[in-house]
């Protein structure tokens, strides 16, 4: 204890949120009797201007030197109350919060138990705060560059905002071209804009922007540092093409030794396997950068070391380079935006829909490609056997809103399905049946689009399809795919034979997003989407300072929402950079040299290499800039010489003792 504690305790009602369950007056009364507490009050909204004023007045009036606020999670308002204390001249780190909303009022049924638990948490905080001492925030300058991971529409939008603000942007994309999922679409809802007409100019702008360093076919492999000062390692895979020489003419692709499309060695990624591709290829006609790639797993020369190398001969610019190696690029940035997007649920996990078994069952992204003028059929809708479908079933919620797959609504499928219904009807004249559970057309212009498509005569059937089968019961069903459904509006069962089935699969986080989360130290939610700091108050910030989220990486989103979030994330990144410095939470560890015995246990334990050993003086030393404040060293120091600010042994143990004392009726 540094000085005689004079503690003020403030118990928040949070409207009815806390007071509806916890007897806040009783908690304040209890707190007022604890040793060291000078004043304890309850108040309707502690976080309000009035609440903060109350604390500030008390600090002055009662010469308080410690504050306990019992209200919501510190993740929400710790900063608020620290600021308030600072405003009254108190060191902000002499404030501690007891979380009696998220941890008590909202999770406890019995009001008496809740009140007891609230008292315990308050007692813990009171005991703890006695051991608090003034701390200084550390100001650290911020690097004025931004890293953006993922160059779909979200990453592209964020990159352009940052670059236009004059900041250097490293835009990293693991595919050989930017554009992401949107580049596969022919049209977008609700306006039926030509997707490539709105995306391509943006892609080109990215490619030519002086402030954007585009790193395609690249992946982030290591991230170090902290907000404002990240050190990032990026691996650029070899394309075996000199990017600066290639003009994307396609002569090499033409010249490749593979001639018969049936024997092309690999399914084409961009068209989701609807056609095959050569070992040397340009991902799609609008690809950016428009540069060829050689797939080392398919290229005869790279695989076997022997080939006529017709591609090399065909290239007038000598751009092909089989000796290219992967490159590691180091960059230092102040902010990071993750825009890694989504993938669609593996439909083979739902065998009831026959995907992979019946050739005429398609996934929605496949149909997007099929409709795309740059796609394998030039935008003509034909089945795998070449027939034009006369009747098409579009099934919503495949794996979405389903406890067995994804509990959540994937948000984009209703509108995407309506769009597909419109486009398929337009291109084929087929009878379209759409099977939905609830039609969610919530966005601007969406309801209007829904009505338009409905007006076009699409059969909108409210009912979830349980199965697609080829077991025909009647001659009309022979050779067709049969959809059995309860038409819930009619209250009757229907069997509808169709030629083609389109499944609207649930969205899930992109491949590798969990690894990415680990790499960047961000949290993921129960469905592995990147977790935002707060769903309403901080929807683009991750839980890690300096790392922001954009687009579907954070959860399913349509294009307008993705772009909105991306530009929001860019704004946050710019705000961080333009401030010029960051204040770091002072929860770092320090060595009490008086006590350090020089045993070196700590040195090998720090995951960030932040502990140095001074051989001469025989003492360990913590490099403040590297310490991230986990406290592992403090827990392990056999001499109790290392302590962690805000989590000192005394502080944590006092809190433990406090919560327990109250539980035992103390």
């Amino acid at each position: 204890m540094v000085d005689e504690p004079r503690i003020g305790v403030y118990v928040c009602h949070c409207g009815r949120n806390i007071a509806g369950v916890v007897n806040v007056a009783e908690v304040a009364e209890y707190a007022s009797k604890l040793p060291g507490v000078v004043v304890a009050r309850d108040y309707m909204f502690m976080c309000s201007q009035g609440g903060q004023q109350l604390i500030q007045d008390d600090i002055r009036k009662y010469r308080l030197n410690r504050i306990v606020v019992a209200s919501c999670s510190p993740n929400l308002h710790e900063k608020t109350f620290r600021r308030a204390a600072k405003g009254a001249g108190l060191n902000p780190y002499n404030v501690h919060m007891a979380n009696i909303r998220e941890q008590v009022a909202w999770v406890t049924e019995d009001p008496e138990e809740a009140t007891e638990k609230a008292k315990a948490l308050v007692r813990g905080a009171v005991e703890r705060v006695k051991h608090h001492e003034p701390l200084e925030e550390k100001k650290v300058p911020v690097k004025d560059k931004v890293l953006i991971v993922g160059a779909g529409i979200a990453g592209i939008s964020a990159a352009l905002v940052c670059a236009n603000a004059g900041k250097t942007v490293y835009l990293v994309e693991k595919e050989p071209s930017i554009g992401g999922m949107m580049a596969r679409f022919d049209k977008t809802f609700p306006t039926l804009d030509c997707a490539s007409c709105i995306l391509t100019p943006k892609m080109n702008e990215v490619a030519s922007h002086p402030n954007i360093k585009l790193l395609t076919y690249s992946e982030v492999v290591d991230v170090e540092g902290y907000v404002g000062n990240f050190k990032v390692k990026i691996r650029k895979k070899p394309r075996y093409i000199k990017e600066d020489l290639c003009i994307g003419c396609g002569d090499c692709v033409e010249a490749c030794v593979f001639k018969n499309p049936r024997f092309y060695p690999k399914p084409d990624e961009w068209s989701l396997g609807l056609k095959r591709r050569k070992p040397i290829y340009i991902p799609f006609p609008q690809a950016v950068p428009r540069v060829a790639v050689i797939d080392p797993e398919a290229c005869v020369y790279l695989k076997y070391g022997k080939c006529a190398q017709t591609c090399v001969k065909a290239c007038s610019r000598n751009a092909i380079d089989f000796t290219q190696k992967e490159e590691i690029i180091d960059v230092e940035v102040g902010a990071i935006i993750l825009a890694t997007g989504y993938k669609t649920l593996d439909l083979r996990k739902l065998p009831q829909y026959g995907y992979g078994k019946y050739p005429n069952v398609y996934s929605a992204p496949e149909v997007e490609v099929l409709l795309n003028a740059s796609g394998p059929t030039g935008g003509e809708v034909v089945l795998r056997d070449g027939r034009k479908p006369e009747s098409i079933a579009i099934i919503h919620c495949v794996g979405s809103r389903d406890e067995k797959y994804k509990k959540y609504c994937s948000r984009i499928c209703c509108m995407a399905a309506l769009k597909l219904a419109h486009l398929l009807h337009e291109r084929t004249g087929a009878e379209i049946y759409e099977f939905y559970i609830d039609m969610r057309a919530f966005g601007k212009g969406y309801e209007e689009f829904y009505r338009r498509v409905a007006g076009e005569g699409v059969h909108l059937i409210r009912g979830k399809v349980s199965e697609i089968t080829d077991a025909a019961l009647t001659p009309e069903e022979e050779g067709k795919l049969i959809v059995r459904v309860e038409d819930t509006l009619a209250g009757a069962i229907r069997r509808i034979p169709v030629d083609m089935v389109v499944l609207m699969p649930a969205l899930e986080p992109a491949v590798g997003s969990r690894e990415l989360a680990k790499l960047f130290g961000v949290s993921v939610d129960e469905n592995s989407w990147f977790m935002e700091r707060h769903p309403k108050l901080a929807p683009v910030a991750s839980l890690t300072d300096g790392v922001f989220l954009a687009g579907c990486a954070q959860g399913p989103k349509d294009i307008p929402d993705s772009v909105m979030q991306a530009e929001g994330a860019a704004g946050q990144a710019l705000a961080l950079i333009d401030k010029g410095y960051v204040e770091l939470e002072p929860n770092i560890a320090y060595v009490d040299e008086e006590k350090c015995s020089g045993c070196r246990i700590c040195v090998g334990l720090c995951p960030f290499g932040a502990i140095e050993f001074d051989e001469e003086r025989g003492k360990a030393r913590i490099v403040e800039a590297l310490c991230k404040g986990c406290g592992t060293c403090a827990a392990s120091c056999p001499s109790a010489a290392i302590q962690q600010n805000l989590f000192k042994d005394q502080q944590v143990m006092a809190e433990i003792k406090g919560v327990l004392a109250a539980m035992r009726g103390g």
């Binding site: 977790m531 839980l543 890690t544 991230k628 592992t632 944590v652 004392a661």
Partner: protein, 147 residues
């Protein structure tokens, strides 16, 4: 089960939890209004790697009938590997307290990620129930001291 032992017994449980996973999951559980046992008191640390076995013994000493340590799943530690250290300490500590006459079920370590709010409820409830069935902890210092 000894009826007298558990009848009306409200266990004292301390959960020392990581700031980045379980603490957030507990916040989310709150926002989702999931109801769980009121006997688990959360004490936050930045990382399960900060959990010093002394804290656990301290908690037992000061009246905890059970101590729960919660951290990020293996491989997901915000600080790379603090949770691994927590786990290794936990294994040795469990062996030690068992030798000291404390039922090892009174000390539990669980991995709960930020996204696993339902698991907060599940784990807290099951631990509270386990501790309830074990009855109040009698410390060695108390046990059999008739002096």
């Amino acid at each position: 089960m000894d009826e007298a032992k558990t009848d009306g017994f409200k266990p004292n449980i301390v959960a020392i939890v990581c700031n980045w996973c379980t603490y957030i999951a507990a916040d989310t559980a709150g926002v989702a209004r999931m109801k769980y046992s009121p006997y688990v008191r959360i004490v936050r640390v930045m990382c399960s790697g900060r959990v010093d076995p002394q804290m656990v013994l301290w908690a037992f000493r000061h009246g905890a009938d059970g101590v729960l340590i919660c951290g990020c799943h293996p491989g997901d530690c915000h600080y790379k590997e603090g949770n691994y250290k927590a786990y290794r300490r936990y294994i040795l500590l469990k062996r030690m307290v068992k030798q000291m006459g404390i039922d090892e079920r009174r000390l539990r370590l669980e991995w709960i990620s930020a996204g696993e709010a339902p698991r907060v409820k599940e784990v807290f409830n099951s631990f509270a129930e386990e501790i309830r069935s074990l009855g109040p902890l009698k410390l060695p210092v108390e046990a059999g001291s008739h002096e």
